[in-house]
Symmetry: C2
Subunit: 198 residues, 2 copies
């Protein structure tokens, strides 16, 4: 997972394949592109594609994941942080931004793959929240809490992206209150979670 690939050839190949994928995504969308197309565009042998990715779906997932991680990085969100209002707010903002841009930039015919994207996002959010929870003392069932909170954030983001009736700040405020009240009874040293939106 975190194994930094050292060999320059591997770096080059994957970079070129991803680049080709992005180009073709804009030009013809995910459905219309074939593995052959991607390989041709990248000037990489088709066989080599399979050395790196199971199929075009795997590459697709990988790209989504990297884009989401980039969005998280934009908000300076890391695994090794604490469970506090500021971090939660940033996480919520990142999710909202990403969902919005996915809904906008998605080729019409490729909507069928939204579930895959959503699974990846949710899982990623859950990982982060779970990591943050190690900063909380005496919490029981951290895994359950992480799961439910991550789904809450994800769901709120999805809902918000549909119409943007409220501001992102309101979404964050509401969620943070919900989480705070929900955890109050469970955690001894729960930090002050309320952080008014800027």
């Amino acid at each position: 997972m975190s194994t930094q690939t050292l060999d320059p050839r591997v770096r080059r190949t994957r970079k070129l394949l991803k680049q080709a994928f992005v180009e073709l995504m804009h030009e013809k969308g995910f459905n219309a592109m074939t593995v052959q197309d991607i390989a041709d565009r990248a000037d990489i042998n088709r066989t080599t594609f399979y050395d790196h990715y199971e199929d075009k779906f795997a590459l697709h997932d990988q790209m989504i994941l990297e884009w989401f991680q980039q969005k998280l990085a934009d908000y300076t969100i890391t695994q090794d942080a604490t469970f506090c209002g500021d971090n939660l707010r940033n996480l919520i903002y990142a999710v909202c931004d990403f969902v919005l841009q996915m809904n906008g930039g998605c080729h019409g015919a490729d909507l069928q793959y939204k579930p895959a994207i959503e699974d990846l996002m949710q899982a990623t959010i859950q990982d982060i929240v779970h990591s943050w929870m190690t900063s909380l003392d005496g919490i029981e069932h951290a895994d359950i809490h992480a799961a439910s909170i991550s789904y809450a954030i994800f769901g709120a983001g999805m809902q918000w992206s549909k119409d943007q009736t409220h501001s992102k700040g309101t979404v964050a405020d509401t969620l943070i209150s919900l989480i705070r009240d929900g955890l109050k009874a469970q955690v001894t040293n729960l930090p002050e979670l309320v952080t008014q939106s800027a």
Copy 2:
């Protein structure tokens, strides 16, 4: 020489090395750059550099040659053309342009390599002129004529680039007259070489 390299890996490697060379040429000049620098910048192993080029001088020569050939292509100059006024004029223009841009773009400390550049240019011009001469009937000593004419063009271009006292058109007119009169007695079907500059 003209063997089109088919393997994508070879194409990639050379492209990256050339790209790195150009960047470093602008940043620190030819003298200051090492083979290690070029390889690092291109993210290519230094050993691999030596699989493609004798040393950094060989790469340098190759780049010069390609730049000059690009300039020739800009003027739609090809080997398989005829010995006529229009082609000669374009060739002279291309030489003038290239010499000017070399003198301008050359890093101060790298002037010592001008001779190498000049040799390459002259040889290339000579090849072209010699090829064109096959379109002339009954010419004796085509090789001698090609050599002298190519040197004349090269020399005029060098001279012109120093101060640009005359227009390129004047240089071309003068040279074409010189060549025409020089060849008049040698060739039976010498085409009308005079083509006034545009």
